[in-house]
Point group: C2
């Protein structure tokens, strides 16, 4: 039973179309009803995946795309010595295997953290989706670009930031991502993360991860546990981490009018 905060309704859209992915798209782009319908189609087939399960192994065939509608997952690589590195998280509205249409095999493993509610679609489905709704193709591309920025940000975090700033920066990022799909509560949000997983995300040891979180707490930056964390001083967090959620938002209309594609 996922303990997400109840989503706040977006604008005024029929309940059926209130999937997190659609919410994410509508956050950056006005959608026609037709387009919304087509995206709802993508959510036709749903499936549940138990928590703590490896969904995809490095090298597996990329047979399907999964849209997360509830729960969290992560993409990772495991080294021989047992070290694990988390590349990115998937939260509601994110697609697992977004490149399935283009790449025959998965380059990295993916595992669920919580029980997962997903919509399954065949990669091929995208071909006709984009042919029928070119703007959705552009939105899909936007999503890929956003994912790219997310991973680039992860590089910067672990490459040139101290443990303290890494942690603060990631927490901010998660806050903003969840906010976009409505999974927040003022300056609090809930996560299924453990310190262990966070450590493997930020390239730190568990011990140091713990000490860093304690320090953020002692400094009055955060409060609560990971399962329900509150950012106490967002301005200061933004300042010290030099965060610019710009890479999450890009609020301009992507393509006011797309040239008629035939």
């Amino acid at each position: 039973m996922p303990k997400q905060i109840k989503p706040v309704p977006a604008e005024h859209q029929p309940a059926q179309s209130d999937w997190p992915l659609i919410r994410k798209f509508r956050y950056v782009q006005r959608l026609e009803n037709q387009e919304i319908d087509a995206l709802v189609q993508l959510h036709q087939q749903t499936k549940t995946i138990p928590k703590r399960k490896v969904i995809l192994n490095q090298g597996d065939a990329n047979k399907q795309c999964l849209i997360i509608t509830d729960g969290w997952a992560y993409r990772f690589s495991k080294l021989r010595n047992g070290n694990r590195q988390v590349i990115n998280y998937y939260v509601p509205g994110d697609i697992i295997s977004p490149f399935a249409l283009f790449m025959p095999k998965a380059n990295y493993s993916v595992a669920s953290i919580t029980d997962l509610q997903v919509a399954v679609f065949k990669p091929d489905h995208l071909i006709q989706l984009f042919a029928t709704h070119p703007r959705l193709g552009l939105l899909y591309g936007w999503m890929l670009g956003r994912n790219d920025a997310l991973v680039a940000e992860q590089v910067i975090r672990i490459g040139r930031r101290s443990a303290y700033k890494r942690t603060a920066h990631l927490l901010l990022e998660l806050y903003y991502r969840l906010k976009i799909v409505g999974l927040y509560n003022d300056t609090s949000f809930s996560t299924p993360l453990t310190q262990d997983l966070l450590a493997d995300t930020l390239g730190l040891s568990i011990v140091h991860m713990n000490r860093t979180l304690r320090k953020l707490q002692a400094d009055g930056m955060i409060s609560g546990r990971l399962n329900e964390i509150t950012l106490l001083d967002i301005d200061e967090l933004m300042r010290i981490t030099e965060s610019q959620p710009r890479y999450l938002e890009q609020t301009q209309q992507i393509s006011p009018v797309v040239s008629q594609q035939k």
Copy 2:
């Protein structure tokens, strides 16, 4: 005057179509002549960019795509304290701003290392390119997926690998990437990298970068300077870094036959 090793000719293709980007695509996919022609079109307008110049600033409008045909560049972010983190390199055959069609603004800065020879095209050009040649759309998607793997690999490198392994791993990656576009010589390749730039790529200090390179040399793993480096024991390098150039290659035919898209 870029001092690249002279490319070896790929298969048996007219000289005009021997652009690195096309070579990269043909490495993973058989192309029809029509498709090659269309890609050659993309290279119509060329341009030279001087070395050590910032080509794109974080936040700049993504007005054009640049295909590198000669030279190196890198994408990076600069922090307030002066720290710089390199996210990825661009070598011949790579596209700068591949998401320009989808994202209005650049999320990160890009700078040239060497003098750059580039082909310039308008992002919009891709729309009709993909409409006319759907398989090129898939190849473009493949390229984006490959870039994603490249950055993910960078995360793993700096997150959970020692300085020694990071360095070895990056050198191997560069070797394989250059090999695909023909810029290699047995187990040697030339780079315009400095230890300073490498350090900012791998999240190390210059001093430690230097010591690490010295150690790799002392261990008989590499020889020569960065401007013309030789990998002396590729098998061993692959073993200790657990490298799997799979993420660069994915040699399967991406889409034997694409369903007719109208």
